[in-house]
């Protein structure tokens, strides 16, 4: 059976960074509920990174994703002077010197990726969703989180991708391929939304229309969380769902604010790992 939920795993080395000349080499490992990310930094420059699916064992996933980021760079894990673990499985990063919550790391990472003007970060992850406010230094000033319910999380999108037999990366674009947005699916519960979506398909709706109704419902749900914490410019979206244009566009419409586009082709899902690597660098500096 084809696995429509399966998103692509990958690794990259940033060109033109010579880590051997760096004063401090630091690493951040973000073990999420669905995906694991690793970021390696040479001083204040991102050097290599990777993103892979979290397996049944968090320590193994942490090791695997870090080894993958190191692959082909000539850098070894022993060259990394300080590592910070973050994410849902952060206590399970065996080689981490410290752990920090993903909330702090996402704020810090967003500050690095987009700059000090970022004040609101929406992190839409695999199994939770967080609305974070931060100051110009990337320090968290307030946050709200939904980790109880799959509605508005990546896991929820995976379920729908499977149901509709559409690769997860195509859900967003397909959902925008409608003339006019239909009414959102009335239930936010992913399980009930599944049966609601089936009922619509039976009624003769196109897949695109059903996806539009579903993405609207998800955007509505996430908008509630954002409203409660308050949105201030600049607004950015991190985490895997930031790549779902169908949800992002609708969310921007509902909130009346545009999110900054991804910068330097950097995957916003990496924000947590990058933040962790930045914290690792701070710790090393303080200790040295």
């Amino acid at each position: 059976m084809k696995e429509y939920w399966r998103w692509s795993e990958y690794r990259r080395t940033v060109r033109g960074v010579d880590w051997t000349k760096a004063e401090i080499v630091s690493g951040g490992v973000d073990v999420g509920a669905v995906s694991s990310k690793a970021a390696l930094m040479a001083d204040d420059r991102l050097f290599a990174y990777s993103i892979a699916r979290t397996g049944s064992s968090s320590p193994d996933s942490a090791k695997k994703v870090t080894d993958w980021a190191l692959e082909g760079t000539g850098m070894k894990l022993s060259d990394v002077q300080c590592v910070v673990g973050t994410g849902y499985g952060r206590v399970n990063v065996p080689f981490a010197n410290r752990t920090i919550t993903e909330i702090s790391c996402h704020a810090r990472g967003a500050n690095y990726i987009w700059g000090p003007m970022v004040r609101t970060i929406l992190d839409m992850g695999g199994q939770d969703c967080k609305a974070i406010r931060s100051d110009r230094n990337g320090k968290v000033t307030a946050f709200l989180m939904n980790d109880r319910c799959a509605a508005g999380t990546g896991r929820g999108v995976e379920v729908i991708a499977d149901l509709m037999s559409i690769p997860i990366e195509e859900i967003g674009p397909a959902s925008l391929n409608v003339e006019k947005d239909p009414e959102p699916i009335s239930t936010t519960c992913v399980v009930f939304a599944k049966s609601a979506a089936l009922a619509l398909l039976r009624k003769g709706w196109s897949k695109e229309m059903v996806l539009a109704a579903y993405c609207s419902a998800m955007a509505n749900r996430v908008a509630e969380l954002l409203r409660r914490v308050g949105v201030e410019k600049e607004f950015v979206i991190t985490g895997g769902i930031s790549k779902n244009i169908g949800i992002v566009k609708r969310l921007e419409r509902i909130m009346g604010i545009e999110a900054l586009p991804p910068k330097n082709e950097l995957d916003p899902a990496l924000a947590g790992a990058i933040g962790a690597a930045l914290f690792a660098r701070d710790f090393y500096k303080k200790r040295a």
Binding site: R148, C149, V159, V191
Partner: protein, 256 residues
């Protein structure tokens, strides 16, 4: 008729006595399923449509009845049906496929208060179905299985989608299926119990709806709220019984 989100239940009543009852899956077309069920019941009882004095419908699909019918809410139907079976009933807990309902009522079956949960699958039969699938046991086996549990463990997640992954990881951790089944029933029992607490728990409590057939759930709910539950023989038909009773009650009071 009780036209639910999963099954439609119908019952023929002569005076205050049930003549026949039956249920079928709603499938794609609730209307057609309901029609077929009623026709089957009539044939079984050697009756024709003209013998039916009146039809009353309830359930989420009550307005898709294929026949002209008066409608009442599921809340009233549950209270009336339970009161008829157990006059001592002061509270009814109804756990169905996609929603759950708690009702507090008088000794005459009149509704005092109620609370409902239909926004989240974690408090409904769908939750147990999904968990049985994750556990790879048949739905009718998960109840008896959970009675064999030796250890009490707690699911960390509530959401059906998240709990599916949690169950799978518990299997990987070699936790026994019986213990996991128990945790599953405890989880939904907790949600139902907090719904009941919202309107104050009062004895005697009748448990109705399809999920009442699951002995594992009954056991978990009893230990969660600390009260023994009255479970009728055909718990899924109590709503249909209640709607049929509204008409015969009306008749009775008219005669008086």
């Amino acid at each position: 008729m009780d036209i639910g989100s999963r099954n439609v239940k119908a019952l023929l009543m002569v005076d205050n006595r049930t003549l026949s009852e039956g249920q079928t899956l709603c499938g794609f077309d609730q209307k057609a399923a309901t029609e077929k069920l009623v026709e089957d019941l009539l044939r079984e009882s050697n009756l024709s449509h003209s013998d039916i004095a009146h039809i009353v419908a309830t359930g989420v699909g009550k307005n898709s009845s294929p026949y002209p019918a008066s409608e009442i809410t599921m809340v009233s139907a549950d209270a009336l049906g339970s009161n008829f079976l157990f006059p001592s009933a002061r509270m009814v807990i109804d756990v169905g496929a996609e929603n759950s309902l708690v009702v507090r009522c008088t000794e005459k079956g009149k509704v005092i208060d109620f609370a409902e949960s239909d926004k989240c699958a974690a408090g409904s039969g769908t939750f147990i179905e999904a968990m049985a699938r994750a556990l790879e046991v048949k739905l009718e086996e998960i109840g008896p299985l959970s009675l064999k549990a030796k250890n009490s463990i707690v699911l960390n997640t509530q959401c059906t989608v998240f709990a599916e992954s949690e169950v799978v990881s518990l299997i990987h951790q070699k936790v026994s299926k019986a213990d996991i089944a128990r945790a599953i029933h405890d989880s939904i029992a907790n949600r139902i119990a907090s719904l009941a607490r919202r309107i104050r728990i009062q004895k005697d409590i009748v448990l109705v709806g399809g999920v009442a057939l699951n002995v594992g759930f009954v056991n978990s709910l009893e230990s969660t709220i600390g009260v023994e539950l009255l479970v009728p023989k055909d718990p899924e038909f109590v709503g249909a019984l209640g709607v049929a009773l509204t008409y015969s009650k009306q008749k009775e009071s008219g005669r008086r």
